[in-house]
């Protein structure tokens, strides 16, 4: 009977007392956030060409790439002195990163590099990305805009569907996830390009998904159960959704891990960010988001009386309408 122990990893009838341990978890999160902020301040983000401008040339050799030789050649030129050369995925393939960009259409940096590298052996230039300073600035602006706008829209929607404290708590959880993800990106020196921005925005949506499922249960609990202590309702809701949160995270985790391992070098950064996001997002949905809600002193009694008020008003309206339609008014 081992089998269906596996099939029922989580029994929804066990209620864990998460809220009793919320302070240690919030402490851990605070620590992680501080560490991330520290990294962001001291080490900073490694902005790729999409945001910083610059040039990337990807070259594949027929044999092992002679990195030292390439380095010597490029450092001998005035233009490409500061070029960084790194292996990319396999020993045959390299990436050359140059901080400058060229505006000349007929003869660009890619052309110049392939002329310079001629003596190093047989190769194929597989990718040349050039981003001028103007475009880099615009993309940076748009990226920040997208991030800010997403947060705002989420805030409005959740306030509208739940209550403002739910919205604030979910935003806290999101900021928590994004900050830690950025910290990891900084720690591992991932090139921050547009795809990383997309990954971060996806984490945002994904972690929000998880948080909303938990909050939905809390909302349901507040409306339906007879418990009036918020901690109890929260514990019950988080425990009841625990199986779902973990299972969905697991399936998404499978997919992101395969993407990370087999997806190829180009989506490596994206997959890495997603990987961190899934883990952190799951953690925050279980341990952090609801803790914030409790910390913000969401009051069940107030919520219920407001709901009752709403219901009463609705009923009165209906009554008035009925009377009106019958012609009694």
């Amino acid at each position: 009977m081992v089998w269906y122990k596996i099939m029922e990893l989580f029994k929804t009838d066990t209620i864990y007392n998460f809220m009793a341990k919320r302070l240690p978890f919030m402490g851990l999160s605070a620590l992680l956030i501080l560490a991330s902020l520290g990294l962001l301040v001291t080490k900073g983000l490694n902005f790729g060409i999409d945001f910083a401008g610059g040039t990337i040339v990807q070259v594949k050799y027929e044999q092992k790439a002679p990195i030292d030789k390439i380095r010597t050649i490029l450092s001998g030129t005035a233009e490409f002195q500061d070029a960084s050369i790194t292996e990319f995925g396999s020993p045959e393939e390299i990436i050359i990163r140059i901080t400058g960009s060229s505006a000349d259409l007929a003869n660009d940096i890619g052309d110049e590099i392939s002329v310079l590298l001629k003596p190093t052996g047989k190769f194929e230039v597989r990718r040349v990305d050039i981003v001028g300073p103007k475009v880099g600035g615009e993309l940076r602006e748009k990226g920040l805009m997208a991030l800010a706008l997403s947060l705002l829209v989420i805030l409005i929607y959740v306030s509208f569907r739940f209550e403002w404290r739910f919205a604030v708590a979910s935003i806290f959880a999101l900021v928590h996830d994004v900050t830690i993800a950025l910290g990891m990106i900084s720690l591992f020196g991932v090139d921050v390009n547009l795809d990383i921005l997309a990954a971060i925005l996806t984490i945002l949506g994904y972690s929000l998904n998880d948080t909303i499922i938990v909050f939905d249960r809390i909302r349901e609990g507040v409306q339906k159960s007879h418990k009036s202590v918020l901690e109890d309702v929260v514990n019950e809701s988080v425990s009841r959704t625990l199986s779902r949160t973990t299972l969905t995270s697991l399936t998404t985790f499978f997919v992101v891990v395969t993407l990370f391992i087999f997806g190829g070098e180009i989506i490596h950064g994206f997959a890495f960010t997603m990987l961190v996001g899934v883990v952190v997002g799951t953690y925050s949905s279980i341990f952090i988001a609801a803790s914030f809600l409790v910390q913000l002193k969401f009051s069940i009694a107030d919520f219920r009386s407001k709901e009752a008020e709403k219901l009463k008003r609705q009923k009165e309206k209906d009554k008035m309408r009925a009377m009106y339609e019958q012609g009694t008014v």
Partner: protein, 522 residues
């Protein structure tokens, strides 16, 4: 209970829709709408070009100066010190009796600000509105010109569209080699500005001693020969004609079997050219392309008919490209590269392979997991998941969307998230079954309980996707599109579709009562 219910009917219809419209893309059939691969997957060149619109204004001023000069000579009106500096045309009218004539001519040109001083010095500038119009026109003209050139270059499906006030997006799928890419870039960037200019024969012998600023005092400029020999020519700054008057250009061969380009002028160009050659017999004419002199033949007689030729040591390919550029018109201003993304076809193929592998592996993992964990309920969820993928592909194919690498990542992600709806539902149903509820009631309540959470979660993700689409560029837009379609499709398949299947199977489920087989619980 009848087998067919409205949910199942909608689900079956969406399966049929998905399969029918996804088949051309999956099997890569020749007919039918297919998903096209983005540049990052099939290889190709994407560029964002900035048009230097200020140059267009300067060149408009230059053209106007040319026509003022021609007008004055044609009408035998004496003017002096005709010049265009800093986008201002200056000249002095020597005979005040001719003022009415000059003013009438100038009044026919729209958008000019004309200032006249006491001594009949004219100061002509373009009005701000006219400058804006000129810039705007320059960009749309550049789009048209680049599109014409690329069409004639013979690349498949070039895309040239304007973006914003001064930028142009050029996308060239199907570029195979670095050499081909460079050739395309050269063709696009070629100004192809042909000018026929008069050589200043009076001072021609001083050409090697004059500085540029000295030359400009005479109203001349110094140009070099195109062959790199260092030979220089002193030519009149104001050209006789420019390339806007060309109606055709073709490659031909001269007596020595060298490639040359024959061009034909329109009627007004032909008249100007005829008039000029008639009065300049014995002098030389410089054929100037993009600021270098290609040839400077002697004028032996009046040249009528508006035909001329450019020779100057072209290779056949060069001559062909120059002819294309001349035919499709000059660029009204030079273009600068603001952004370029070029992906070789082999890299694109590698990326597809890697992403496909990840997609299939991830998919199999999820499917196996669902069956192991949920039993037959997992099977039902998987049916919804597979339909979901078909629908994503079908919708993308219908709208002619392109599949990019981030787009594929989006599909992979949707697979993970689409399962979520079924996980939520199944967990709810299990919960109710454990409480001892009857199966039909548990399913009914499980769905309605799960509904609110799924909707809220999906709507917020959709909102983020919309923002991504609005603020994203190129590939990121593709990512936003696939997750949006995926979320919408999952509502149809994972919520409505699976519910329909349960409704249809209800008699069987209630009869068997084997909760472990159906839902994976005791």
């Amino acid at each position: 209970m009848k087998i067919l219910n409205y949910r199942l009917v909608i689900f079956i219809l969406s399966i049929i829709f998905g399969v029918v419209f996804a088949i051309p893309s999956f099997l890569q059939t020749d007919t039918g709408k297919k998903i096209s691969l983005g540049l990052d997957l099939q290889g190709g060149l994407h560029m964002l070009l900035g048009v230097q619109t200020n140059e267009a204004v300067t060149s408009k001023i230059k053209t106007m100066t040319t026509s003022i000069k021609y007008f004055a000579e044609d009408e035998e009106i004496l003017i002096e010190d005709l010049s265009f500096k800093n986008d201002i045309i200056n000249f002095i009218l020597l005979d005040s009796d001719e003022m009415a004539k000059v003013d009438k001519m100038l009044s026919e040109i729209k958008g000019l600000d004309i200032q006249k001083s006491e001594d009949l010095t004219y100061n002509i500038t373009l009005q701000p509105a006219q400058i804006a119009l000129t810039k705007d026109l320059a960009v749309s003209q550049a789009v048209e010109t680049i599109r014409n050139r690329l069409d004639q270059f013979g690349l498949s499906e070039p895309t040239v569209i304007r973006q914003g006030a001064e930028d142009i997006v050029v996308e060239l799928p199907g570029i195979k080699t670095a050499a081909e890419e460079k050739a395309a870039r050269e063709l696009i960037s070629k100004p192809a500005n042909l000018e026929l200019m008069a050589i200043d024969e009076d001072k021609a012998d001083q050409v090697y001693t004059l500085t540029a600023s000295q030359a400009s005092q005479y109203g001349d400029i110094i140009l070099e020969k195109n062959d790199g020999s260092g030979e220089k020519y002193l030519v009149k700054e104001i050209p006789i004609l420019d390339g806007s008057q060309i109606i055709d250009a073709q490659v031909a061969f001269d007596q020595a079997n060298q490639p040359i380009i024959n061009f034909t002028l329109n009627s007004s160009g032909a008249k100007i050219f005829g008039d000029f050659t008639a009065k300049s017999v014995g002098k030389r004419l410089a054929v100037v392309l993009d600021g270098t002199v290609y040839s400077a033949p002697n004028i032996n007689e009046r040249i009528g008919g508006g035909r001329g030729q450019i020779s100057g040591g072209f290779t056949l390919v060069e001559a062909g490209n120059v002819a294309i550029a001349l035919r499709s018109g000059a660029l009204p201003a030079s273009v600068k590269m603001l952004e370029k993304r070029s992906v070789g076809p082999s890299l694109g193929a590698d990326s597809i392979q890697a992403a496909m592998l990840a997609l299939i592996l991830g998919f199999i993992l999820v499917i196996v997991f669902m069956v192991l964990y949920y039993g037959l309920a997992g099977f039902i969820a998987n049916a919804a998941l597979i339909t979901n993928i078909f629908i994503i592909v079908a919708v993308m194919a219908m709208f002619g969307a392109t599949l990019t690498l981030p787009g594929m990542a989006g599909i992979v992600l949707t697979v993970g998230m689409a399962v979520d709806a079924n996980v939520i539902i199944n967990e709810r149903v299990r919960e109710l079954l454990r409480q001892g509820m009857s199966i039909p009631k548990a399913i009914e309540d499980g769905y309605s309980n799960a509904m609110r959470a799924i909707l809220d979660a999906n709507i917020t993700t959709l909102l983020v996707a919309v923002i991504l689409y609005m603020y994203g560029t190129g590939p990121i837009k593709g990512f936003a599109v696939t997750i949006s379609i995926g979320i919408l499709a999952s509502m149809l398949t994972a919520i409505l579709g699976t519910h329909g299947i349960y409704d249809a199977l209800m008699p069987k489920i209630t009869k068997s009562k084997n909760l472990r087989k159906w839902f994976g619980i005791k």
